[in-house]
């Protein structure tokens, strides 16, 4: 009888002395595996877009990137902001390659909304935005709309300079000992 009491006590204590840690570990592993699966999917879709883009099939490349943007990323995923910023930036680039500067501009607005923190990816969105504004300036010039052409041109310059400023700051942080 005493042994059975001991066994019962051990069974009650088991979660406290160790088995609950096993459960935590299992949860961590599950979270990590889920994150790896999501990031693996993102990577595969970017590869798919690479293949289409390299063969000039920009619509299909955009479709692959759209699927990245449609992924439900858990808020706990540390890379979530980067994944979104990368996808919006790439989508805007593809818009430019399809000669659609208006859509590119709209996508950069959304990209900057999801990437509020200073990063290489945010700087890239500003750069693509500048390119879209430059394309709009060219289009306005061709149409004889000098007022809008000048406005887009100035806005493009400011945006591109802002992109350079961000990248320069990032380079300063990442390469503190390098020559300027």
């Amino acid at each position: 009888m005493k042994h059975w009491l001991l066994i019962m006590g051990l069974c009650v204590m088991a979660p406290v002395v160790g088995c609950d840690r096993g459960a935590h570990s299992s949860n961590d592993r599950e979270t990590m595996e889920r994150s790896m699966a999501i990031l693996g999917t993102v990577r595969a879709l970017h590869h798919e877009a690479d293949v289409y883009e390299s063969s000039g099939q920009f619509d299909l490349a955009s479709h692959a990137v759209q699927r990245i943007m449609d992924l439900r990323l858990p808020e706990s995923l540390p890379e979530a902001e980067d994944v979104r910023a990368d996808a919006w930036g790439r989508m805007a680039e593809l818009d430019l390659r399809r000669q659609r500067p208006d859509e590119a501009l709209a996508h950069t607005v959304e990209g900057l909304r999801v990437a509020p923190h200073e990063s290489v990816l945010q700087a890239r969105i500003y750069m693509v935005r500048g390119q879209a504004l430059r394309a709009l300036a060219d289009r306005a010039t061709t149409a004889g709309d000098t007022t809008n052409a000048a406005r887009f041109r100035e806005e493009a310059l400011t945006t591109l300079e802002h992109s350079i400023e961000i990248n320069t700051r990032i380079l300063g942080r990442l390469t503190p000992g390098a020559s300027r």
Binding site: H3, L10, A14, G22, S25, A137, E161, N167, I170
Partner: protein, 176 residues
Amino acid sequence: MNRGVRVALLLVWLCGGCASQSRAPMQAAPMQSTAVYSTPAGASMPPSMGSVSVRETPTMTRDTAPQPSTPSVQMSATPVMNPRENLDGVSDGDDRVGAWESEIVRQQAVLGSSLSQCRDICAAASNVCTAAVEICRLTGDAVRTPVQNPRCVHARDACMSAGRRRDGSCPVCPSR
């Protein structure tokens, strides 16, 4: 031995095995204690370890099973071998593998972070120069020499500076 006692011991062993699944929290303390009493031959054995079978080298287990070969990456000073030894001198194989696994994951993270840093540096430098080309094109300096517009001059300087920084830190940019 009484059957009940045997069952109780089995349960204790099972709970220990269950606890050993959470590998990360148990790396530090047990590893250090192993390092203390495994070299040299019992010289600094803690008083409470009178019955511990002390090993000559930290890389050999009691059953002389071969250890995993040392990874090619630079290992940290933290001892990772023989991560756990029970009081009766029995090494837990799962824990040893777990410690190696943790170390490999840690070193992968170190390598990954430097790779990722180089990727950022290369992308930033490249984007600075792309933006500079766009700026000079907008100012009309793309086909004009010498460059006249100060905004283009400034952007070109930024491009050259970014290139120097990239070359100093990442001579070879990682592929995408």
